[in-house]
Amino acid sequence: MGRPSGDLLALRGVSKRFPKGVAAVEDVSLDVAEGDFLALLGPSGCGKSTLLRMVAGLTGPSAGRLDWGRDASREIGFVFQEPTLMPWATALRNVALPLELAGVPHAEAGRRAREWLARVELSGFEEAYPRALSGGMRMRVSIARALVTRPRLLLMDEPFAALDEITRFRLNADLLKLWQEERFTAIFVTHSVFESVYLAERILVMTPRPGRIAAELRVPPEDRATPDFRTSAVYAAHCRAVSQALGGAMAA
């Protein structure tokens, strides 16, 4: 699992202060290499989402810089906490949206959207409207939409937080499989220790308000290759270490 060298993105002393003086993120420096799967772990309201929105370019930092290695700022996919689908459009048209906004012809966009719906195991639901889909299926549509442009960087903001645990486990496994096949770079915001250990190679633990990076832990690929990783002792050990780091960050 050799990772291509060369940084995709470097954050240098990034802070975000809201107009009323609330500091959401403080002095975050971070290097993201291509192919990384990175989790931002922290309690609710620790500024992880704000950090993600700054990477997406949806809001600017109050201080500090974001340096893109190559111009990858245009090759971003984003998965929100809610599925955020257009209720008036079918699953297929929802997935095709980013392509159509970029001017890809209707038929071609539809063809590629169909492929991606199949890859998130939603073949046969092309013509279904969001309200006819379950929460997990809507999230799959949302993931297909984020990946349909083959982005270099996939940003996810607690995408599975609202789902039941069984659905979340399946989506975690499917997301990991997609990542192993596609090798996009992923930044995944979560408040679940278990989820972060299961998914990410690099886990950045954040402090509450203002969000700062308190610790970085790694789950090496060879550990993840353990059979039945989620029930293994290796997994449990990583979870314990991450929990301790989180406890430390909360106390700081």
């Binding site: 929105r53 949806l58 984003f78 929100f80 955020t84 257009m86 209720p87 008036w88 159509e100 309200r131």
Partner: protein, 254 residues
Amino acid sequence: MSLALRVLAPLVVGLLVLGGWEWGVRHYAVPPYILPGPMLIVRTLGQDWGTLAPSLLVTMRITFLALLVAATLGLLLAILFAQSRVIEMSLFPYAVVLQVTPIVAIAPLIIVWADDLTLALLICAWIVAFFPILSNTAQGLNSVDPNLRDLFRLYRASRWQVLWRLQLPSALPYFLAGLRISGGLSLIGAIVAEFVAGTGGASSGLASRILEAGYQLQIPRMFAALVLVSGFGILIFGALTLLSHLLLRRWHQP
């Protein structure tokens, strides 16, 4: 509640009221120029159909035209408002002024100013009808899901793409709700304007039939015209409700 009950319950109430009315009129021998019974009204409707039907057509035409113009202009103005806060802030108060001024008070002026009576009636009905469409649609255009808006920004959607693919579909339920209100209002506007114009004897819509029947103490005919007005109003509301149901059923949030 089952559909049968929803249809049957009001039907039973209606029949009871009509039956009681007919019985009361006969039992107390109320003269028809004070209060005609339902049977007499229905008979009159049949007898006077020849004069009432053309008037109904005149009123329908004004109402539909007013609704069409109100929907088009209301929608276009709302889109204009959504493009810039400055435009919205500078024009919206005047839309409110038009809305709160009683139409009866300005109808005589409009009738004097406009050369053509149909045009005058149309303007009156439009003034009454357009505000709900404007304000509802403007609100709809601004109540887009903020995450979807971010998504469109992330993919660098043009202003036109945001309007066409995001704002207009988001505003559709609001627009349709406004349209349902305006349907009834455009009929009211048309009738009120006809009343004002009708005192000069120039109009030929249902309101002038009602006035005329009043002068001649043809109370059953007055009621017959009234039945037509209400029936038409109910029809408009029903048709617009159906339209809204058909357009929204697939994506209406459960």
